[in-house]
Symmetry: C2
Subunit: 217 residues, 2 copies
DNA sequence: TTCATATCGATATTTTTTTATCGATATAAT
DNA sequence: ATTATATCGATAAAAAAATATCGATATGAA
């Protein structure tokens, strides 16, 4: 077991699960009852063996030879596996344009994330509500975290405030930070950090595009 | 060479490059002139051998034994490697809250992305400007793509319009789609797609948190 | 100057991941 | 009822990635 895995399940598997899930949602909408590893592999652009191995970590039942997996059951199992049914409460720090978009995004609740409040330093926005959630001054961060026993924070401040706020969050009891700022956070190993790195994503898209344009000649 | 690599460089390496870059920016700000693979590995939570191998794909010069790599030169080489100096023009489709946040984000230009215009169906927003970029009606998508020879589109519509818009974009000449919608897009293999999958990211953060809380007992 | 040491770059080893293979079995066709 | 076939689940083989090792060398200390 490396650091990049949780129990017997590797990080690459975790990354693929939501892809399967999205594909399965479309299939369910179309009324499809069963799906084979071959069909699922095709829509997610992967290999059937990978799909079968991945699914084996999530499914409670079994797939049927010649038929495949039951779409509905598979969805439930993957949702459970990914923790969508186990709601995590979070606070959001930095309610600028991106922060507002994140607070306003109702899809989060579907995968087990409930933003209970936003925090900002800007008096023009403090006191307002987005999606029913209050925006409070940053001075109240510590007490809210403590009172509600919050463990997850979404960081969407400007780059220059990111490290300071991250340190404050950790000191107040936060154990997982979803970092939407372009800052490189330095934190103890005991804190989970997931960088939402748009630069990285775009670099990969650019590489893929380059390859595609090269092939088109 | 698998499908998940470009030339000799694997996707995992590409993913790590922006991490190194972010760490290097902080080091440069602190006035540090040289960095060793050991130091860099520490801040990005990885192994020195991985760092050395990764950097070898990007650097033009060489690292010095006992000293390490020159921070400034390394930054330039990685930026070049990731294509930050080679600007790609893109359009953005769907100027809701998230779309506005993306259009307003000035950091994109730093890594070679220039959003030339936004498109929406909402008359209340059409004609306005964000960050100096006009918002046009979706009816003009095809002509703008054609006139400016745009190859990259950022998709930030609602879920239900995503597939329709993606098809329109591809038909109009787009070859790379950065998908910020929760929709599962089905497109030809010749189109590069990068899903900005918040569900996936959050699932990983949740797993890490679970592991951390377990260790804390 | 000589010696000790940190670090590179190359390569070897180990581990992980992906891919292929194959016997068992559910379904449909004959 | 028999046969053909698609698919599963397990496992074996191949490929890729991560990690460790090691000779060479730049630097600073003795």
């Amino acid at each position: 077991m490396t650091e990049d895995s949780f129990g017997p399940v590797s990080l690459v598997t975790y990354n693929r699960m939501p892809l399967y899930l999205k594909a399965l949602y479309s299939m369910r909408e179309k009324g499809e009852k069963f799906v084979s590893s071959v069909a699922l592999a095709e829509v997610v652009r992967d290999n059937p063996s990978v799909v079968k191995k991945d699914l084996s970590y999530a499914i409670r039942g079994v797939g049927k030879p010649k038929v495949g997996y039951e779409v509905g059951a598979l969805i439930e199992d993957i949702e459970e596996f990914l923790g969508y049914n186990n709601t995590k409460e979070a606070i959001l720090v930095g309610v600028g344009r991106l922060g507002q978009a994140l607070m306003g995004y109702e899809g989060f609740s579907k995968y087990g994330l409930n933003i209970v409040a936003g925090f900002d330093v800007d008096d023009n926005i403090i006191g307002k509500k987005i999606n029913g959630k209050e925006i409070l001054p940053t001075g109240k961060i510590a007490s809210v975290i403590d009172k509600l026993k919050i463990k997850v924070a979404i960081l969407a401040t400007s780059k220059d405030k990111a490290q300071f706020m991250a340190d404050l969050l950790v000191k107040s009891g936060i154990r997982a930070i979803w970092n939407f700022t372009p800052a490189h956070l330095i934190l103890s190993e005991e804190i989970a950090v997931k960088n939402e790195d748009l630069a990285a994503s775009f670099a990969i898209l650019s590489m893929q595009l380059k390859e595609i344009l090269r092939k088109e000649k």
